[in-house]
């Protein structure tokens, strides 16, 4: 029997001890009319070799196209050590570290992770992670409303340059709590700082700033932060943690720094894996830590005075506080955090910086190559990190289809997200893209545009 160790002898001995005749007797408290003899329509079981063939076949169908897509999930290189260590059974199959004495490995990893994230973001305290970047953003909005002591407002200013799915997810998660997300317009691919004047004196709990933003563009974080604080609003930073190895960290934005930073941890050693499991990170100023959702690990001592780690500040959480908890969240993405901690330890500052700068440089080269094609231009003039929006002189979808036919994922079509931009395409080239990949893309794009021209003019 797959994964069940009992022999027939074990079964009869155990039933006898229990005083039951058959396994069916053990279910005698379920009303008979509710029971079923089998799961209707369920397939027959497969051996490991059969499922292995099936999965290889299915994976082969997906193939391995060359990826120039970003939009919140990035194709970075992950060194072998990261997942070999992470999938050790002692990490992979461990439970949540509630029994601290039997979980010092997981707890110390999280403590190290918290330290790394605090340092990377320039803020004081990190939690042990949330589900993903979008839900971390939703939780940050809730936290800001609770934490802002100078304002009772339930409104949050959210620029249109923030990832559209993040805005949608936040809306879906917090709508039950009467919190309003107010759109802030954009100009040249970044938040329109001049448009803030319109909102002066309107009382907001928080202002959101994504850096780099959804378009890859760099926001005027200092000006935005200072404006928000002058208006007694908190600042929620949504930042790509890899980019923070190079970019000004949220804790140093403006005069006082952002109050909460959150975002998607995936770029730090987590594979794209169709969008999950990823993890959301969240870091904040020390004085508002008790409003932070999620698990937190602290260092303490045991009865002999020996240092050790334990989950702490649990009075915020659902298993203690029930209906009055800071959030219903129970889980953290422990395994993904383990991978990221190992990734950051392996790469260090210098390694992370190189990955960030190489991604930036590859994207610069890609844009340069593509914009040399007649009919393709940059949508915005603002500087970018490792993603940029291109404007095409024709609809994006057929162009992407033509590229896909050559094995290239040419980017993310923004037509539906931002119809006002026209034929906009979001492209990204991480450090994982070689000069050859970039040449291949530019050549394929050139071919698409040339063929189209031939067809149109012929």
């Amino acid at each position: 029997m797959p994964f069940i160790p009992h022999t027939s002898g074990d079964l009869s001995a155990m039933l006898k001890r229990i005083g039951a005749e058959t396994l069916d007797d053990l279910f005698d408290e379920i009303p008979a009319n509710l029971t079923m003899q089998a799961i209707p329509g369920a397939p027959e079981g497969m051996s490991e070799s059969e499922i292995s063939s099936l999965m290889h076949e299915r994976a082969g169908t997906d193939g391995r196209p060359v990826c120039f897509m970003g939009a919140g999930a990035y194709d970075h290189f992950v060194p072998a050590a990261v997942w070999q260590l992470t999938t050790r059974g002692e990490f992979y199959s461990a439970y949540t570290p509630y029994q601290a004495e039997a979980s010092q490995g997981t707890l110390q990893v999280i403590y190290e992770y918290q330290t790394m994230m605090a340092s990377l973001t320039g803020l004081d305290i990190s939690n042990a992670s949330l589900y993903d970047g979008a839900t971390a953003f939703a939780e940050a909005c809730l936290m800001a409303v609770r934490a802002n002591r100078k304002s009772t407002s339930r409104k949050i200013l959210v620029p249109r340059t923030v990832h559209p799915y993040y805005r949608e997810v936040a809306f879906n998660i917090i709508r039950g709590q009467n919190i309003e997300l107010v759109d802030l317009p954009m100009l040249d691919g970044v938040t329109d700082v001049a448009a803030l004047a319109e909102h002066a004196g309107q009382d907001f709990a928080a202002v959101v700033i994504q850096q780099p933003n959804f378009f890859g563009s760099l926001e005027q974080v200092d000006a935005l932060t200072n404006w928000a604080h002058a208006e007694a609003a908190l600042v929620i930073a949504v930042a790509n943690p890899l980019a923070l190895s190079v970019l000004e960290p949220p804790g140093e934005w403006g005069e006082a720094g952002a109050d909460v930073a959150c975002g998607e941890g995936q770029p730090l050693g987590v594979p794209m894996s169709s969008g999950g499991p990823f993890y959301g990170y969240m870091v904040c100023r020390k004085d508002i830590v008790r409003q932070m959702p999620g698990r937190i690990v602290g260092r303490t001592v045991d009865v002999d005075g020996k240092p050790g780690f334990t989950l702490t500040l649990q009075a915020r959480e659902q298993h203690i506080r029930r209906s009055r908890a800071t959030s219903n969240i129970c889980t953290n993405q422990g395994l993904m955090v383990t991978a990221s901690t190992i990734y950051m330890a392996l790469l260090g500052n210098e390694g992370l910086r190189r990955v960030a700068l190489a991604s930036h440089e590859n994207t610069r080269q890609l844009i340069e190559g593509l914009c040399a094609i007649h009919g393709i231009t940059r949508a915005f003039t603002s500087p970018v990190f490792h993603e940029a929006v291109l404007l095409l002189d024709r609809p994006v979808a057929p162009v992407l289809d033509a590229l896909a036919a050559t094995g290239i994922l040419g980017g993310v079509d923004l037509t539906e997200f931002y119809p006002e931009l026209g034929n906009a395409l979001l492209v990204c080239a991480t450090e994982n893209r070689t000069p050859k990949h970039i040449e291949q893309y530019v050549a394929a794009m050139t071919a698409v545009f040339t063929t189209e021209e031939v067809r149109q003019h012929g």
């Binding site: 069940i4 160790p5 229990i18 279910f27 379920i30 509710l34 079923m36 369920a42 079981g45 499922i51 292995s52 290889h56 994976a59 391995r64 999930a73 059974g89 992979y92 199959s93 461990a94 949540t96 004495e101 997981t106 190290e112 330290t115 790394m116 990190s126 589900y131 993903d132 979008a134 839900t135 799915y165 949608e168 998660i173 970019l247 594979p271 169709s274 969008g275 999950g276 499991p277 990823f278 993890y279 830590v289 937190i296 690990v297 602290g298 260092r299 303490t300 045991d302 009865v303 020996k306 209906s323 219903n328 129970c330 889980t331 993405q333 395994l335 210098e350 190189r354 289809d401 450090e431």
Partner: protein, 487 residues
């Protein structure tokens, strides 16, 4: 702490970087960071040794037995991990076009179908990223249903006092009022209290069946008809599905919406606290509200259904499509088991639980709800031992660690004093179960002969009992270098 922090290792020069240092960047200076983050600077071997050693400080299913009630800590088959980590699957971008996604989508589509069959529901969405997010989706769908019917007064969620903490927390998060109702002495719900609680404000009830008390709620049909008659809907918390898989289903019991913990019943790893996965299933009337995206099958193959196809959906709950890597592991597990194997899961899970319960009862332990059949888990109360010896449920938990057994769930459910909630799962052998029973008896005997020794437990772990009060009063949540200048 037996292993230094990674930050305490000396900087070493033996590192290899994944990429060459690029030319000077053209990023404008105003955007750049001026300080350096305090990340370690160590060699690959130092990293490998450090994290290997840390892993060895953990209990895990691969190394230890976890009779951990309500958590279903069963074996995580290795094939599920290695096949879900095939390079094409790991490398798939979440927004990749359908022609590069048919393999993944077919697996997810079939998983939707299998979960639908196992729960007796008529639609499934795989997107919720954990049980608590599945709960949020479920309550949001219940709210959307009432709202569509212009039934705006329904904002109360009924929750039994034995419920998991996430149930009331979720209801609050959705803006609902929580109405708690008591459980009777026999472990079933207090039907009179339920009748008194329902009314025109009832949005729904959240139940686990078998309940967190480790017994099957026998009046479930009556409960369903009371709640439905009052205009409310029934929410099934799937935490305990392992007890009934293939025997009965939430659909048969009358539930309108369920969430499943794939990291419990369907054997995806707990990973030291996540990722989980909290797929939701619904009956016909809640189908329009399922969270997106869903996988659909058309003449031209598999594709996503999202905003355009599902206008009444409660929307997206994650940036992309939930925890696909976890979903694939659950899919592989279910395909290996098949229908028969899934039914065997509940049979042997319940067998193992009843076996331990009977053995401990014979050994003189007090079983809560002793007259009842155990489900896949059961509760013992050590209150009498605590009174006579001072040895508490917590002491039992810590002492078990010294026997190489993870502690059962303690002090939950809150209704039973000094309780241990014990769930062995189907993947443990009789030898392992007997070892646990012997350990419990030995600890009980020691409680009477040498209680001080038990209060000192655990003695064989990397650390002894930790000072939780100090941890909360003087939070040390981030490592500070001895010399601040070092940053």
């Amino acid at each position: 702490m037996v292993e230094p922090l990674i930050f305490e290792y000396h900087a070493s020069g033996g590192r290899s970087f994944t990429v060459k240092a690029p030319e000077a960047s053209d990023l404008p200076k105003q955007f750049l960071r001026k300080s350096k983050p305090a990340l370690p600077a160590v060699s690959e071997l130092q990293v490998v040794r450090h994290y290997t050693r840390l892993s060895q400080l953990n209990f895990s299913i691969d190394t230890h037995f976890y009779p951990l009630g309500s958590c279903t800590m069963k074996y995580n088959p290795k094939a599920c991990n290695s096949l879900a980590m095939l390079p094409e699957l790991l490398g798939r971008h979440p927004l990749a076009p359908d022609q590069f996604s048919q393999g993944t989508l077919e697996c997810l589509y079939e998983l939707q179908e299998m979960l639908q069959q196992a729960t007796g529901m008529s639609g499934v969405s795989l997107t919720p990223m954990a049980g608590a997010q599945g709960e949020l989706a479920g309550v949001a769908m219940i709210q959307a249903y009432h709202k569509t019917r212009n039934d705006h007064e329904r904002n109360e969620i009924i929750v039994p006092d034995a419920a998991h903490g996430t149930n009331p927390a979720t209801a609050t998060m959705c803006g609902c009022k929580v109405v708690e109702i008591p459980t009777r002495a026999d472990g079933d719900l207090d039907i009179d209290a339920l009748k008194a609680a329902v009314g025109p404000k009832t949005a729904g009830i959240m139940l686990t069946n078998p309940s967190t008390l480790g017994v099957f709620e026998r009046q479930i049909e009556e409960i369903a008809s009371i709640v439905h008659a009052a205009g409310g809907l029934l929410y099934y918390d799937g935490a305990n599905l392992n007890a009934i898989l293939g025997r009965t289903s939430p659909g048969a019991m009358g539930f309108d919406v369920v969430h499943l913990n794939l990291h419990k019943t369907f054997s995806t790893p707990h990973g030291g606290g996540g990722p989980g996965s909290g797929a939701v299933g619904v009956g016909e009337r809640l189908r329009p509200y399922l969270p997106i995206p869903l996988v659909i099958k058309t003449a031209s193959g598999y594709s996503w259904a999202a905003e355009k196809d599902c206008p009444d959906s409660i929307g997206r709950l994650s940036a992309f499509m939930g925890n696909v890597g976890v979903l694939l592991r659950a899919y592989i597990y279910m395909r290996m088991l098949g229908g028969e194997g899934m039914r065997r899961v509940s049979e042997y899970a319940v067998l193992n639980a009843n076996y331990i319960m009977v053995c401990l009862r014979e050994a003189g332990f007090t079983i809560a709800f002793s007259e009842r059949r155990a489900s896949h888990e059961f509760i013992i109360s050590v209150k009498k031992i605590t009174r006579e010896t001072g040895i508490s449920a917590m002491d039992f938990a810590k002492a078990l660690l010294d026997y190489g057994i993870h502690a059962p769930t303690t002090y939950f459910p809150l209704l039973v004093p000094e309780c241990l909630l014990i769930e062995p799962t189907e993947t443990e052998s009789i030898q392992e179960l007997d070892g646990f029973i012997e350990a419990m008896i030995a600890i009980r005997d020691k409680a009477y002969s040498d209680p001080e020794a038990l209060k000192a437990a655990p003695l064989t772990m990397p650390v002894r009992r930790l000072d939780d009060v100090r941890a909360a009063k003087h939070p040390n949540l981030v490592w500070q270098p001895p010399d601040e200048q070092a940053i």
